[in-house]
């Protein structure tokens, strides 16, 4: 998924912004909604879309799913550049 496509959805943008700022973070849906201010429905949709796009990795166990940031290097650099250039509060 290209950057423009990635940040097309407000929810995806917020999730990517969070992980770009906190790349070591691994968190559940509940945590992500806390950090991004998104509602559960929007957040889970965005998270799964980003998993499909190869930006996030899900660690799925019986009781929960932990999402972690794992974009390819080039995309990680592009994401970082994008948010640095825009420097906006998401």
């Amino acid at each position: 998924m290209k950057i423009k496509e990635l940040i097309k959805s407000d929810a995806r943008k917020k999730v990517v912004h969070f992980f770009n700022a906190n790349p070591s973070s691994i968190d559940t849906l509940k945590g992500i909604t806390t950090w991004t201010g998104l509602d559960s429905a929007s957040a889970i949709k965005a998270l799964e879309e980003l998993v499909k796009a190869g930006i996030l990795i899900p660690h799925r166990v019986s009781s929960t799913v932990g999402y972690a940031y794992a974009p390819p290097k080039k995309i990680a650099r592009d994401i970082k550049k994008y948010f640095q250039a825009h420097s906006q509060k998401v």
Partner: protein
């Protein structure tokens, strides 16, 4: 730091909408003016309020001061009318309130900026804990720990070395995950020497720009976790060591739990096999603990996507389902002719007897329903309770098919054994009546697999 704080303070103040409104009120009374907020120059803490008049108009300069802290001054130029004392006092009170508001806002921002990253880090620790505590299977756990470690530490390679149990401690079992090569290896036996041996002996971590190794300690050193090549080509530092040490402490708990569970499992399965071996000494035993019997049950269960726990229970049940026959008199078990009604009534009690044998063993409680109902028939005409269809536990329905098949391909006192095809024909014949049709279909597919066929040929 102080300058940055002042800069931010004045920036927020000048952008404050209430200040704009107050300026508009002044202008509505005194005429339009130019407003400015200037940072303080020098250390003058006693800068007074100044009012002035010139060819441009009237104006004032008021220091922006809170206690002893002087931030700057607010300057207004170009009023049509002079600024009165009352208006100055009003403006002073208003500005002081506004500055307190801005100061609080800045303190909250500072608090947020301090607490938020810590809260995010804490949430990560909590999530990692949940993820690694969710399994007691060491083979599943070790790669998971490695992958999570890479995520948290932002490194490219994670190696976990578990020291081989025993006094000599000469070898380790290595699990490695490499994100760049998208590769993973698990349980590779390597010699414990060099830096690994040193860490195992001393319990001290080792930090270099490209590699970080931390011991896994549970009373003694049970292993080592290491990471290589930090992302972005940055060197590892003391902070990374601190984080990895915290991670290692969590990993140790999960690893030890899994190891203890594995030991307990081995003990349990050993005891069950011993018990099954005793059962095999009885006449007419079809060697229920044979590799083929257990293998067939396991293969059918896997096709049904049962959980790891359910599979474990089925293995135990495979070994013990005819435990109750130990209470059947030899003459009935050895009989070559057709059983009488009374003899068959005694045989039919063996599932209940089997339950009585395993009941006192806590770990075998899940096995009880499978043993009890493995002679029920799908059409409800079985024993001991005449359960029907899905009322019969899945394990019992699987066991029923496998039991019948293995009995047919084994020599009995009263008949010769059937071959594989003949036995399958019989199984299919009773699909829907004696046996669950879905299980029969799966069983036929399992038999068709080449590795199963070779097992049957060997028998």
């Amino acid at each position: 730091m102080k300058d940055k704080y002042t800069e931010e303070f004045l920036r927020r103040l000048s952008a404050n909408i209430n200040l704009k409104k107050q300026e508009q009120v002044f202008e509505s009374m005194l005429g339009p003016a130019t407003w400015q907020i200037q940072p303080v120059k020098g250390e003058s803490k006693d800068k007074p309020v100044e009012r002035f008049s010139n060819e441009s108009g009237h104006g004032f300069s008021m220091p922006l001061k809170q206690g002893n802290q002087l931030y700057g001054a607010i300057i207004a130029l170009g009023f049509k009318y002079p600024v009165t004392d009352e208006l100055m006092r009003l403006f002073a009170v208003f500005t002081e309130t506004l500055m307190r508001e801005v100061q609080k806002e800045m303190e909250l921002t500072k608090l947020y900026d301090t607490i938020r990253p810590r809260a995010i880090a804490l949430s990560t620790i909590h999530t990692v804990h949940r993820l690694i505590s969710s399994t007691l299977d060491l083979d599943e756990l070790m790669p998971r720990i490695a992958r999570l470690c890479l995520q948290v530490m932002r490194a490219e390679v994670c190696d976990i070395f578990l020291i081989e149990p025993g006094k000599k401690k000469k070898f380790v079992f290595q699990t490695s995950v490499n994100v760049n090569k998208d590769s993973q290896k698990h349980k590779v036996k390597v010699k414990l020497n060099g830096i690994l041996a040193h860490i195992a002996k001393t319990g001290a971590s080792r930090l270099t720009p490209k590699r970080l190794l931390v011991p896994l300690i549970d009373e003694d050193v049970i292993g080592i976790i290491g990471i290589r090549n930090k992302m972005g080509d940055k060197p590892f530092n003391e902070f990374d060591k601190e984080i990895l040490t915290t991670f290692a402490e969590q990993a140790v708990i999960a690893i030890r739990n899994a190891q203890l569970y594995e030991e307990q499992e081995k003990l349990t399965i050993g005891s069950i096999k011993a018990l099954a071996a005793i059962l095999d000494t009885r006449p007419n035993s079809i060697q229920t603990h044979s590799a083929m019997f257990v293998k067939l049950v396991v293969e059918v269960a896997k096709e049904l996507n049962v959980t790891a726990q359910e599979l474990r229970v089925l293995k135990y049940a495979s070994l013990l389902h005819d435990a109750g026959k130990v209470m059947i008199p030899d003459e009935i078990l050895k009989k070559q002719k057709r059983l009488t009604g009374e003899e068959f009534r005694i045989i039919k009690k063996h599932p209940i007897k089997g339950v009585q044998i395993v009941k006192p063993i806590e770990v075998l409680k899940p096995v009880i329903p499978i043993i009890l109902y493995h002679h029920e028939r799908f059409d409800g005409t079985g024993y001991p309770k005449g359960l029907k269809g899905s009322q019969i536990p899945l394990g019992s329905r699987i066991m029923s098919v496998v039991d019948a098949f293995v009995a047919m391909v084994s020599k009995q006192p009263y008949r010769e054994c059937l071959n594989c095809d003949e036995s399958l024909f019989e199984i299919k014949k009773y699909s829907g009546t004696q046996f669950d049709p879905e299980i029969v279909d799966i069983f036929c597919r399992v038999i068709a697999k080449s590795n199963i066929k070779s097992l049957l040929k060997a028998k």
